[in-house]
Symmetry: C2
Subunit: 205 residues, 2 copies
């Protein structure tokens, strides 16, 4: 083709590397893996964090029940095998987003240590940032925004985490936020400070 | 070079919307769905396109066999049901990337029209850009970089697309590139021109 605008395109050999993405985006990528009891505040913190990151020009994205359970994982139920597969896929998708240069934030109960550790294991060092969204069971149950605890106590929901199914808190998470003790903005600030301190994002101007 | 960072954006209250992401990133998001015979050049075009987009500061990402078949879809084989589920999941992940504001490029044979149409159906209008990577079977077979055609002809690979399994070309793809007639750079330019013309990305400065 005679009028190819090829003079404007520099064809470097090779693919776009992770370092290339970070250099262009101005931030590093990672998976911020939120874990905690139902109604502990994972999604609330995740969405507020996503907003705070975009406010700084950081490409962020929340993976949660709304966009995963009704799409990618809509074929999965709540049997032990399906819960396991649910978290496995979320870990793999989170890895793809990290590879793509996005700070992705997962907001799932993910009650089992082994499931979370498996997600950590498929990523490179520093790419998996576990955030324990700590909140007492009493407080989660008092909030109960969807009425799930009430139904679980009434026996209408089986194997409900915190009531009739176990929650295994992280042993050594990168970050702990106490949503029963600190306001949302402070919890978000804790995560941002971690990301700044560890060099994932630039300190606020 | 354009930068994904952009300051002084006026925020709406609430969550980060698709429009917010587009305003900050300076480009729209979509799934560029490459389809074509084995060895037609899908991955080559996809990787070069990804690079050309990043060169303009556009956040792009390739989903292909390397990062999907060995991760998210490693539990799937090549039975009809598994192939079907393979493409279903890829469509859902592509949708997530589009929602996240990334121009994502999928590079899979995806031989069945119904599978591709299903992926299109879960996205909003304009979010699914089908690219038919057209190349004659003779030329694909001549290239045969992995020796798969040879093995398929020898009966060592069953149900190989183009040889012993069907390939259904798109009826009305948004873009057709002829990798047996035009050099790689020209095929990439065709896609870029489409994205510019339709307003996904800004014209080259």
């Amino acid at each position: 083709m005679a009028n190819l605008k090829s003079k404007h395109v520099v064809w470097h050999p090779g693919v776009v590397t992770k370092a290339d993405r970070e250099a262009i985006s101005g931030h590093k990528a990672c998976t911020i893996w939120m874990t905690g009891l139902p109604a502990s505040g994972k999604s609330t913190i995740a969405v507020a964090l996503e907003k705070a990151l975009w406010d700084r020009g950081v490409h962020a994205f929340v993976l949660d029940g709304d966009n995963v359970r009704h799409g990618l994982n809509k074929d999965l139920g709540f049997s032990p095998e399906d819960r396991n597969e649910n978290i496995r896929r979320i870990g793999e998708v989170a890895k793809l987003f990290t590879t793509a240069g996005v700070i992705n934030i997962t907001a799932f109960i993910s009650p089992y240590r082994s499931d979370r550790d498996r997600a950590r294991a498929i990523m490179a060092d520093g790419e998996f940032v576990e955030v324990f969204v700590d909140c007492t069971l009493d407080e989660c149950e008092r909030r109960d925004p969807k009425g799930h605890y009430k139904k679980a106590r009434a026996g209408e929901i089986a194997e409900f985490t915190g009531v009739s199914a176990p929650y295994e808190p992280p042993v050594k998470p990168e970050i702990v936020v106490h949503t029963d003790q600190a306001p949302e903005a402070e919890c978000v600030r804790s995560v941002l400070t971690y990301l700044e301190t560890k060099g994932y994002i630039a300190p606020e101007a």
